[in-house]
């Protein structure tokens, strides 16, 4: 996904001379296409994320559309107050890109596992938060982000993810991305690169269900959500993030409010699959860590 990000950013920079790329000394063997094409619009800030966010805010005040590249929790938790005060409050045009979220940096340990970042970002006003599920969705969302004037937090996988979803023509900020429809009560919502596992598991187990990639946790297209949860009464949400504050939480909150406000006549069953308030401290591949964190689908979830 980082390749998809860099390539699309190079594309965007061709016709947008305000695009600027910062890194906190990460992205070796990833950012080179941009650095080579636009050396004057790239800066390695060194390892100082707090100052880097401030620097990005200052650049954005001068009219730049600033992308910040780093990995895991470094461009998020490490500098969350700078993001809140210096970027989100004045609604500046800064795009924070974190690569390798969830358990992508599996054996690097808890420091490199971004599993709470979405929750922290969700709480901040003016933030758009997005976790694409595969390289082509990443490409589409980076193109979208270049046209969006405001703060965004983009959570990407790492490298060599497979293409899972078909490209769709109409795709706006907040939209659900349908993989397949179904007239059963089942609908699966998945965000991030764990979508690959989910889609394959559904195929292998021959489950009849609608499948949606839900890249945006904020904002969420309310009318689409309403339409889906009116049509489907059994929703399964799978994400590589703490259960307390991720996509599942956001869906439950929205469904709850729609029900409370009388927008939907019935409240659907919503099964949330996410990390149960724990850290992992053992080595393992990404799939094995996901399993250890109980990020697995089960036939009992579907009707």
């Amino acid at each position: 996904m980082r390749k998809a990000f860099v390539n699309q950013l190079v594309e965007e920079a061709k016709h947008n001379d305000k695009i600027f790329l910062l890194t906190g000394d990460l992205g070796f063997h990833a950012l080179e296409p941009f650095i080579e094409a636009y050396p004057d619009r790239f800066l390695n800030c060194g390892i100082n994320e707090q100052a880097m966010i401030g620097l990005a805010a200052g650049l954005a005040m001068g009219g730049f559309n600033v992308y910040i590249y780093s990995i895991a929790n470094f461009p998020s938790l490490r500098c969350i107050e700078q993001i809140r005060n210096d970027v989100a409050y004045p609604k500046l045009n800064v795009k924070i890109v974190s690569v390798g979220v969830g358990f992508a940096y599996s054996a690097l340990g808890a420091s490199h596992q971004a599993t709470e970042d979405m929750g922290m970002m969700r709480a901040i006003p003016n933030m758009v938060i997005c976790t694409p599920c595969d390289p082509s969705e990443t490409t589409q969302i980076i193109a979208m982000s270049a046209k969006y004037d405001g703060p965004m937090y983009l959570r990407l996988g790492k490298a060599r993810e497979k293409e899972v979803f078909e490209k769709v023509d109409e795709f706006e900020i907040g939209d659900f991305h349908a993989y397949q429809e179904s007239d059963t009560p089942n609908a699966l919502f998945v965000s991030g690169s764990i979508a690959d596992y989910a889609v394959n598991w559904i195929k292998e187990n021959q489950i009849s269900t609608a499948i949606y990639s839900v890249p945006f946790v904020k904002p969420i297209n309310q009318s689409q959500l309403k339409e889906i949860i009116t049509r489907h009464s059994n929703i399964v949400v799978l994400e590589e993030h703490q259960l307390s504050c991720g996509l599942g939480s956001a869906i439950v909150e929205q469904a709850n409010d729609m029900f409370a406000n009388g927008m939907i006549p019935e409240y659907p069953k919503i099964h949330r699959i996410g990390i149960h308030d724990l850290f992992l401290h053992v080595c393992g591949t990404t799939p094995s860590l996901r399993e250890k964190a109980f990020l697995t689908l089960d036939k009992g979830l579907f009707v």
Partner: protein
């Protein structure tokens, strides 16, 4: 209005604002009054009728809690009618007790320390990238300089050779709980700033000529940013409160206010 007249007026207006609002932080608002006066009388390029003029110099107050004298300065310079200042810390007013970018003339909201200099670096770096001539000025406090993010920004500013950036440290040597050297000793301060590859000028932060000369030197210094280490006196001008921790919190009562206005009118 020359800088001395301006400084006097800033102090009088600040005292009135803080008294009426029963606000804190008059000590730090008064210690930086001369720096503000020299900046706004003699250094900064700005047009109060066009606060978003692209060519304006950028000014950031990082120690946002002492915004009373900054707001007073903006009022005196004509960014808004002086009556606007009556709203300081009052219900419904935009004049919060920390600097707010919703106030005309303010670039950045501050309040949490350690934010002004990194953003200032970004503005200055952006100006270089855009080939713009405006300069960026940031005032920080000494307590402010205990934040790691400021030292990150010192590294960045030197690395990027931001000679269009000038940092001013309002070094009144008092913070929340007492003397800075007893809480987090910043000394040897000038040597540290020199070692970070900034052009460091140490001076008396109440000496207008010294300040003017330093700002001139900053403008002429190429290849590195300038930091003015301004030795100041907390609550400067309020005789009985000068150099006291008490002035960090205390708002003048009726009797003290009378004395304060007398002190400042001299």
């Amino acid at each position: 209005m020359n800088s001395v007249e301006l400084a006097k007026k800033i102090r009088l207006v600040t005292a009135e604002m803080v008294y009426k609002a029963s606000a804190s932080h008059i000590g730090g608002a008064l210690s930086m009054a001369d720096i503000l006066a020299v900046l706004y009388a003699d250094v900064l390029q700005f047009d109060p009728n066009n606060p978003s003029d692209d060519n304006r110099d950028r000014f950031i107050l990082s120690k946002g809690h002492t915004c009373a004298s900054y707001y007073a300065t903006l009022g005196i310079m004509g960014y808004f009618p002086m009556s606007y200042l009556d709203g300081f810390a009052q219900e419904g007013s935009l004049l919060l007790e920390h600097t707010s970018h919703y106030v005309p003339g303010v670039e950045l909201s501050t309040g949490s320390l350690g934010h002004g200099l990194p953003v200032g670096c970004g503005i200055a770096y952006g100006a270089k990238k855009l080939h713009k001539n405006y300069r960026t000025y940031v005032i920080v406090g000494d307590g402010d300089m205990e934040e790691g993010s400021n030292w990150e920004a010192l590294l960045l500013g030197a690395q990027l050779k931001l000679d269009n950036l000038c940092l001013i440290i309002d070094y009144n040597k008092i913070q929340c709980f007492g003397r800075t050297n007893e809480i987090i000793n910043l000394e040897p301060f000038k040597e540290k700033l020199d070692a970070f590859n900034w052009n460091c000028i140490e001076l008396d932060g109440h000496d207008h000529d010294a300040l003017r000369n330093a700002f001139k030197e900053a403008e002429q210094t190429k290849g590195k940013p300038t930091v003015i280490l301004a030795n100041t006196i907390k609550a400067k001008g309020w005789k009985s409160m000068e150099d006291t921790l008490f002035s960090h919190y205390h708002s003048p009562n009726d009797e003290e206010y009378k004395q304060l206005m007398e002190d400042l009118s001299k």
